[in-house]
């Protein structure tokens, strides 16, 4: 270990040498300096551990030296040597940083101890400093580590955040894309629905015209070509209907009906439609309907027919030889197991063919849109592959399912079930024909009964249903949505029977019945013809029935009622009222006498003013223009021989008729319209046309309100000219 170095500073050289000498005996190296500056210079060059300095020195004194030396080397241990009893100086030196002092004359043994102490203190300080440094290092290292981790964490966090952001962004754009796609799909469906509708309109005209042409005398060749054209239009029309259905289902715009119908009739109608196609291909088309299939169920017969028709026409399309068989029965997969109402009936239909069949791996996709088991099929057999998709969707809407068993080359059997509400139950002795439900949409002819029935019911669907059922029985049916309308109708016409719903808006059924009876009592002429009233209600209790009787009603029909019940009630009550109906001719004669009550005024000022937003001056101008035109028109008519009328002339009369209407010359407009209709029917002009037109025009121009209006206009004109 290197010897400790001590620097002795004294301006008296003899003294410092003495120190060097005496201190050299100890275990440290001693250097000497003669002044403060000298000492500082030495300290710049070498490391000094202990500084021993005299206080009193010329130039820089001991205190200043200590101050500057410590500034230079903070670990330096300074000892100051002062004169005897110079306490002030000692305190000053200690204040500047000296760690101890000695008084002259110096006791070297004491000095040695002090130096040793100083060195020890320095060592301790150095140790402390080292430890401190080490601690600092550790701390810094730790800090570095923490910082490093923090940075790593921050970086990781950043990555995560940006990843989340990215995901969010992606999710957002996915949602956006989904919305866009859905909107696009909906727009597509809407577009398809609208377009198909637009295309269908001219298509229906084409079919109709072709049908008409085919009934005329044609050369065989012409007939064949036109028949081909007709078939093409029919195929196109069916395709359009498919597209329309498909896009309606996609756009959620398809709704099912709920009307009573005979499932047998539906199957029969499909056979009727398809047996010719089957015969053409020499395929046997058979149909087997199980006995337990009810005669009436409630559902959508058109959509059911559509499904069966699609399956059957597919079957015929894909079959070359053999047969196509339709079967229908009540499904054994009980409706009770699905938890549906007991009144529901599940029917199972199947269509079996001996056609080309479907390969096992294609079975799964055939119910998807725009698919046919084989792309080449489209070319060979036609179709766009929407039919089965529509079928499966319709079946699902009807609460059933559709499936297929098939073997390639051997044929396929398509099955489907659908759920219907139960129709009326047949009583024994009653034949199915008697309550044959509304055959929708074409109704079957029935013996005409000139009996009329008023149906008071606010629910439109119910109203329509009852209307259809009764109309198909040959009754004349009038509907009233509420009590007030019902009373008005009864006032205006005579009825043989009223079906009256008890729950009506505003006035309830009981009150309506009471009012009908009150009026009957008030009207003596009507006292002998009591109008039968049948209440319709969902409340099938004895009390409700009694209340109906009390209110003057005759019978009671509990909802939900069957087709047969309605017909039975109608037959029971409508025939009973023995009122002699006025005969048709009498009614007409009376109506002819009543014609004046029809709104055909010479001049309808109110309507005319409305047409010109109430501006009397404008109306005046319009009237004058019209009279001019009408006079001109009559002149043309006079100059036109009956056989010379042209389309242009007809158009001119039509325009004049519209202008007359606009001007409020209703009677004249009607007269002109007679002429137009006759022109359209190629009846030509008769002198009576001219006469009536002239007379009506005169009536119009001479109407005091018209003359007044013309005058105001002329005055205004004259006024304008003056100004």
């Amino acid at each position: 270990m290197a010897k400790a170095r001590v620097l002795v500073v004294d301006d008296e050289q003899s003294l410092s040498q003495l120190y060097v000498r005496r201190l050299g005996k100890f275990s440290y190296t001693v250097s000497q300096a003669n002044s403060g500056q000298d000492a500082l210079d030495i300290m710049q060059r070498e490391e000094i551990e202990v500084l021993l300095t005299d206080y009193k020195m010329p130039g820089m004194d001991g205190v200043e030296l200590i101050t500057r030396a410590i500034a230079l080397s903070p670990m330096l241990q300074c000892i100051v040597i002062t004169g005897y009893a110079d306490i002030k100086t000692t305190i000053k030196a200690m204040g500047a940083g000296a760690f101890n002092y000695l008084q002259k004359p110096v006791d070297f043994a004491e000095l040695d101890i002090i130096i040793e102490k100083g060195l020890e203190k320095r060592r301790m300080l150095q140790d402390l400093e080292n430890q401190q440094r080490q601690l600092d290092q550790y701390r810094r290292h730790l800090e570095d580590l923490v910082l490093e981790r923090t940075l790593a964490l921050t970086a990781a966090n950043k990555t995560l955040t940006s990843e989340i952001e990215e995901r969010k962004c992606l999710e957002g754009s996915l949602i956006q894309a989904k919305i866009v796609a859905e909107n696009a799909n909906k727009a597509k469906s809407e577009f398809l629905a609208n377009m198909s509708h637009e295309i269908r309109t001219p298509m229906t005209s084409a079919i109709g015209l072709l049908n008409l042409v085919l009934e005329t005398d044609l050369l065989p060749k012409q007939k064949a070509y036109l028949e081909m054209a007709r078939i093409s239009t029919v195929i196109m029309h069916n395709l359009l209907n498919d597209i329309l259905d498909f896009s309606k289902i996609e756009a959620d715009r398809l709704s099912l009906e709920s009307i009573p119908f005979n499932p047998r009739a539906v199957v029969d109608s499909v056979v009727d439609l398809q047996h010719l196609h089957a015969e053409e291909k020499a395929i046997r088309l058979s149909c087997l309907i199980a006995d337990d299939v009810p005669a009436t169920v409630i559902g959508d017969p058109n959509r059911l027919r559509q499904i069966i028709l699609n399956l059957v026409s597919n079957a015929i399309k894909f079959t070359k030889y053999g047969e196509v068989a339709i079967e229908c029965g009540c499904a054994t997969e009980g409706s009770s197991s699905t938890g549906r109402d007991q009144q529901d009936i599940t029917l199972q239909f199947s269509v079996r063919d001996s056609g080309i069949g479907i390969e096992a791996e294609k079975l799964a996709v055939i119910f998807e849109a725009f698919t046919q088991a084989d792309g080449t099929i489209t070319r060979r057999y036609g179709g766009v592959g929407l039919g089965l998709n529509i079928c499966s969707k319709l079946v699902a809407m009807m609460g059933g399912r559709i499936w297929v068993n098939s073997q390639a080359g051997k044929g396929s059997t398509f099955h489907f079930t659908s759920v219907f509400a139960a129709g009326p139950s047949l009583e024994k002795g009653e034949s199915a024909g008697d309550i044959k439900p509304a055959d929708f949409p074409a109704s079957s002819p029935r013996p005409r009964k000139t009996l009329s029935i008023l149906v008071v019911e606010d629910d439109e669907m119910n109203q329509w249903l009852i209307h259809e059922i009764l109309r198909n029985q040959g009754y004349t049916v009038v509907n009233a949505p509420d009590g007030a309308t019902a009373l008005q109708e009864i006032e205006n016409r005579s009825f043989n029977l009223v079906f009256l719903d008890l729950k009506l808006p505003r006035t309830n059924g009981y009150d309506v019945a009471r009012q009908i009876r009150e009026r009957e009592r008030g009207d003596r002429a009507a006292s002998d013809k009591r109008l039968p009233i049948v209440a319709m209600t969902g409340l099938a209790t004895k009390e409700a029935e009694q209340r109906c009787i009390d209110a003057g009603m005759d019978d009671f029909l509990a909802k939900p009622f069957s087709v047969g019940q309605i017909i039975a009630k109608a037959e029971k009550h409508a025939g009973r009222s023995g009122e002699k109906r006025p005969d048709a001719r009498e009614t007409k004669e009376a109506a002819f006498r009543n014609i004046a009550s029809l709104d055909c005024q010479i001049f309808d000022e109110e309507a005319a003013l409305k047409n010109v937003s109430g501006n009397r001056d404008a109306l005046s101008v319009l009237i004058r223009k019209f009279i001019q035109k009408a006079l001109h028109g009559i002149r043309i008519i006079e100059g036109t021989a009956s056989e010379e009328t042209s389309v242009l002339f007809e158009q001119e009369m039509q325009n004049l008729k519209e202008m007359a209407m606009q001007t409020g010359a209703i009677k004249l407009s009607d007269e002109l319209f007679c002429l137009v209709l006759d022109l359209r029917n190629k009846k030509g002009i008769t002198p009576s046309h001219r006469g009536r037109l002239e007379a009506d025009l005169e009536l119009f121009t001479n109407d005091p309100r018209v003359t007044a209006l013309i005058k105001t206009g002329e005055n205004a004109n004259a006024g304008d000219k003056k100004n």
Binding site: T204, L212, A591
Partner: protein, 141 residues
């Protein structure tokens, strides 16, 4: 072949589409005289004029969707006029509404609000229209 006529019918076709008009006219013409108008407003006027000439219509074939005034509105107005004239239901003019396949709701409206007698769906087929005339007893079967 036109069947034995019960009487010479007076018929009005209300239809904005030229082709459809022509088709219906060709189907109906063997049964009587046919007038043609192109919207609901004209239908009302034609109805009124016919009564004034003491030649009311026996049948009106009216499209539901038409410009200016639709068929349902015109039907309501026509029934209103009949009420004014004192015409009761058996003698009311028979009105067959013509509709596209997909507007059942509108047809329901025609029945409940306007008192349509029947309706047929486009495309107009001769057999069906004639069948409908038979079922509402305008021609004998």
């Amino acid at each position: 072949m036109p069947e034995i006529k019960k009487t010479e019918l007076r018929m009005l076709i209300v239809e904005d589409d030229f082709m459809v008009r022509q088709i219906i006219r060709d189907i109906l013409e063997p049964y009587g005289t046919v007038d043609i108008v192109v919207n609901g407003e004209e239908a009302i006027q034609a109805f009124r004029v016919a009564w004034r000439r003491q030649q009311p219509y026996d049948l009106i074939c009216m499209d539901i969707m038409m410009p200016i005034m639709d068929g349902n509105t015109a039907l309501v107005a026509i029934r209103e006029m009949e009420k004014t004239l004192g015409i009761t239901s058996p003698e009311e003019v028979k009105v067959i509404m013509i509709t596209a396949l997909d507007d059942v709701k509108t047809v329901v409206k025609a029945y409940s609000k306007g008192g349509a007698t029947s309706y047929i769906v486009k495309p107009i087929e001769k057999d069906r229209l004639i069948g409908e005339l038979r079922s509402i007893n305008l021609i004998s079967s």
